[in-house]
Every structure is written in C-alpha cells, then in structure tokens.
Amino acid sequence: MTDFPFIKVQTADFDLTTEVKALREGHKDIGAVVAFVGTVRDINEGEDICALELEHYPGMTEKALESIRLQAHQRWPLQSSLVIHRIGKMQPCDQIVLVAVASRHREAAFEAANFIMDYLKTNAPFWKKETLPDGAEKWVDARVSDKEAEAKWLSKTG
C-alpha cells in the first residue's frame, strides 16, 4: 500500500502493544516511548456524533506523513517513529490515529510525538465527516487552535 514502512494508512484498527513492539524492534538503547492515540469522541462542538468517516488523498497522504516524520527526526535525536492513520467509517471510541516515537530520553520523545501530531493535523490530507443522530452528515471544520498549535513549533528550538 505504501513505500514507507513507518507510515500506514489503513481501514483496519491497530493494536497498541503490537505497534510499539515493532517500533522498538532492533533498538536496544531506547529509554522512552511516547505513543499518542486519537480516538472518536461521541460529542464534537456540542453535537452528538453517531459515526465518523475519514476521507484522504491517496499518495499525497503518505508523502505528507513521511515528510512530517523526517522533520521530527531532523529536529530531535529519535531512534524510531511511526504513524498509523485509519480511513473509512468509524464509531465513537474507535482508534483513529497512532503516533509513536522512541528515543533515548523522554523529553525528545514527548516533543517529537507532539510535533508530529500538530503537523499531521494541519498538513496531512485527511477529512472527517460526522453523522449526527438525525442522520445528517456534516464535514468537520478545521480548528483555528490546530493552526496555532502548528505555529508554536516555528519559534521553538528542537
């Protein structure tokens, strides 16, 4: 599906233990792993959510995610990292995205995982459509706070 072994865009769910094990495989001097899991909430901007559908731009998605991952590796001393993003139909409580980062020390791992998520939110071509209780469908609006979260990294030193 992709040429990037540490990037997966898939309809299937993922297992945290399995993925973190794969992330750590072959690296003995890892001291810190930070894993972020984004999940479907049952309420968004005050409205009940019954289902969520994730559309993406095949090809560009993988390139964008790989570019974000490489920027993180240039900025922090990481042993490894991976990004999994699901597409298709999902229910409340489902896992949507996994960003996992391994490093010698915890600060780099926390910062890099946070950075990858902030950039993914504003640069990876995914779009969410919610289904409301009355059956109506609604494209999710981009959040201003996501742009602000991305911008904060410009003034930070890695």
């Binding site: 559309e55 949507i96 939110k121 995914f126 494209w139 609006d141």
Partner: protein
C-alpha cells in the same frame, strides 16, 4: 493533459472527484481556477471565493502562482481535519 482531483466537501459540492483537462490553456494554477470558476456558483464558491482553498500540485502543497506542466496532478480541497 492535467489530472484534476477534488476532495471531501469539494467533491460533494462539485459533484465529481476527478477529471482531465488539456494543459494548453493553463500556464498556472490561477489560470485553471479562473476557468473552473466560470462553471457556476458552486465552483466559484469553492474555488475562487474561498479564502481557505487548499491546492496541491503533484501531491505537494502549492498556490495560485504555481506553474503547470503536462501530466501534472492538481488537487483542490478544504483545510484538512484528520488526526
């Protein structure tokens, strides 16, 4: 030829996900957008009158001034909301 893609709310509002257009008349993304916007209100709303329009050329973020070449893949979409 140029391959044009529309995603998410654009795909729905414009009633199509992709099309091919001859390169000849479109030196830049702006030229292409001008022409597409003439197709009607939905097109103008999504493409010309939309301050949040996102543009990618060959799967890399681009803008109106980006020059086009034969075989280019151009995509128009709203701000992304994944994660």
């Amino acid at each position: 030829m140029l391959d044009i893609f529309y995603f998410a709310s654009f795909r729905e509002a414009l009633g199509q996900s992709q099309e091919q257009l001859p390169l000849a008349s479109y030196k830049t993304v702006a030229c292409l957008l001008d022409d597409l916007s003439k197709r009607g209100d939905a097109w103008q709303l999504a493409l010309s009158a939309n301050p949040n329009l996102q543009i990618a050329v060959n799967q890399t973020i681009a803008d109106r001034s980006t020059r086009l070449n034969a075989g280019d893949e151009i995509a128009f979409f709203p701000p992304v909301t994944g994660g």
